[in-house]
């Protein structure tokens, strides 16, 4: 069960307080009317669903009720970072090597009751 650092509450909280909201950084087309059925369908339904580093949106439903983003490994389930809505991830599938450690430390080792 995940232990999630809420970027707004500034502390780790139990997964039960959160709801996953699917892939992050999906923007609604600015001009929906200009979209083809295909483009609109892609926005609505088609997803990356990677095996590995994934950027997803969560909401601190039982807490501050804020939506935020999370970079998480979908196999190890390790949370590499969480960041506020509107911010960009510092860790991606490509640029993973170094910051991964740092982030992992703050998310994992730093856990203190």
């Amino acid at each position: 069960m995940f232990y999630i650092y809420c970027p707004y509450c500034g502390e780790h909280r139990e997964e039960e307080e959160f709801h996953p909201k699917g892939q992050a950084h999906i923007e609604r087309p600015k001009e929906p009317e200009a979209c083809s059925d295909e483009e609109w369908g892609n926005y609505l339904f088609f997803r990356d669903n990677p095996r590995g580093v994934h950027h997803e949106m969560w909401v601190h439903a039982v807490g501050c009720r804020k939506f935020f983003n999370m970079t998480r490994h979908t196999v190890s389930y390790e949370i590499l970072e969480t960041y506020k809505m509107g911010e960009q991830p510092s860790i991606t599938a490509d640029s993973q090597a170094k910051p991964r450690e740092a982030a992992a430390v703050s998310q994992q080792e730093g856990v203190r009751a």
């Binding site: 707004y8 509450c9 500034g10 502390e11 909280r13 139990e14 039960e16 307080e17 039982v62 807490g63 501050c64 009720r65 804020k66 009751a113």
Partner: protein, 211 residues
């Protein structure tokens, strides 16, 4: 003016009121464990509850001037006045819970709105929608450990902290106004469930319910 409607939902004429636990007392009673009790439970009903929304910078001055309290900017903090009767609690970066003695909420809202003028903010009166349960006694923390998933150990939950978290299968706000006292802010419609849960989980400690 913020151009929002304000509405005093209270009346000073003597009208019988029913707290969210009124039905629960009738249904489940109010156990008196007496001397052997390691757990006290008490509802503080009919208080004034306001939800304050807006930017911290916008609200801070108004709250200080009107309520005489500093708006807690740090997450999970609870600020009270000397009497402990008035408090304001951080709920989210743009949301605070103000609890004041019953009847004070409307004048307070009005004053805040005057003070805030045309700034962007929101104040919602939720006094009828929630109630406050006080838990004290040596077994209080054990009871909470059975109930909420949040870490209530003193090292993580010092006096002056308040969080919104999972209470059994409901949501509550849990606060620690003083060393030996915990407060739960529960929604009216969930109050009976929470009450029955607390009696059930607390039974082994012997519960005293003060009405």
């Amino acid at each position: 003016m913020s151009n929002a409607a304000t509405f005093d939902t209270r009346t000073d004429t003597a009208i019988p009121v029913e707290s969210p636990l009124a039905y629960s007392y009738r249904r489940s009673g109010a156990p008196q464990a007496g001397g052997s009790s390691r757990l006290q439970l008490r509802e503080r009903a009919m208080l004034g509850h306001l939800i304050l929304r807006g930017g911290a910078i916008v609200l801070d001055e108004a709250v200080r001037d009107v309520l005489g309290l500093n708006l807690p900017g740090r997450p999970q903090t609870l600020v009270q006045d000397a009497s402990g009767e008035r408090s304001i609690q951080w709920l989210s970066p743009d949301e605070w819970l103000v609890i004041v003695p019953g009847g004070e909420e409307f004048p307070l809202e009005t004053k805040l709105r005057e003070h805030l003028g045309s700034a962007h903010f929101a104040i919602s009166d939720v006094s009828g929608g929630q109630t406050l349960l006080e838990i004290s006694g040596e077994a209080a923390r054990e009871l909470l450990m059975k109930t909420v998933i949040y870490d209530v150990h003193p090292s993580n939950f010092p006096v002056g902290k308040g969080v919104t978290t999972v209470f059994a299968k409901a949501t509550t706000i849990i606060r620690r106004p003083s060393e030996d006292r915990w407060e739960l802010v529960v929604r009216r419609s969930f109050a009976d469930y929470c009450y029955r849960w607390l009696l059930d989980a607390g039974a082994e400690f012997g519960v005293n319910v003060q009405q």
